[in-house]
Amino acid sequence: MSIPPISALSAAAPASFVQPTQATQAAGNTDGAFGTSLASAIDGLQAMQSTSSALAIKAVTGDLADVHDYTIASTQAAVAMELTATIRNRAVDAFNEIMRMQA
């Protein structure tokens, strides 16, 4: 029974050294994509919340034409907030799960 893997091991080492860098680059790209989409989601959320607060000011000053305009805007902002928070929490959970991984 021969044991050839000793030479194979030294040959495999550089390859396994190269692979992580590629993986890191790929992970970097994915991070960027997720970060971009999260940022745009947060932008949308911010727009919804500013619409909602503008309508709240209108309601207080008596300029609100429709009561339901404000309640709808605030509901949308609340649900979008929850959605964004959920996505962020899932992403952090996934990250923590990966960090807990052991060889």
């Binding site: 305009d69 709808i72 929850e82």
Partner: protein, 135 residues
């Protein structure tokens, strides 16, 4: 409309029903508005609802296309003691049927409630979707 299409569509319904209630309240407020017989009577206001263009399939809803007006003829009522009465003792009342207006009021109110219920349910639905896989 994206993520909150149902809420947006139901919101357009709320708009229309609110305007309908406005029109009914205007009609009821003016149901006793008397004019002299040589003037036009107060004209009842009716809302013309129109479905939104839904070519893409994900939009939709409804909007108020305009207002229609009732007869300016009104009805002549014999009230000789009225300050606006003409030589024969007639004044002009608007041609508005109160029971019909009350029925329209109920319809508008129920329609508004239905659309508000849709918004509530849609919100519940979205919240349910967020809890998928939480545990």
């Amino acid at each position: 409309m994206g993520t909150f299409a149902a809420i947006g569509i139901a919101g357009s319904g709320l708009d229309v029903y609110r305007k309908w209630i406005d029109a009914v309240s205007d009609n009821l407020a003016n149901i006793n508005t008397v004019r002299a017989s040589d003037e036009a009577a107060f004209q009842a206001r009716y809302i013309v609802a129109q479905a939104n263009d839904n070519q893409g399939g994900d939009s939709g809803g409804v909007h108020v296309a305009g207002a229609a007006f009732g007869s300016a003829e009104g009805r002549l009522v014999y009230e000789p003691g009225h300050p606006l009465a003409d030589n024969e003792g007639y004044v002009r009342y608007p041609d508005i049927d109160m029971s019909s207006q009350m029925v329209q009021l109920i319809m508008a109110q129920r329609g508004y409630q239905a659309n508000a219920a849709v918004i509530d349910r849609a919100k519940d639905m979205y919240t349910t979707a967020l809890t998928i896989g939480r545990n």
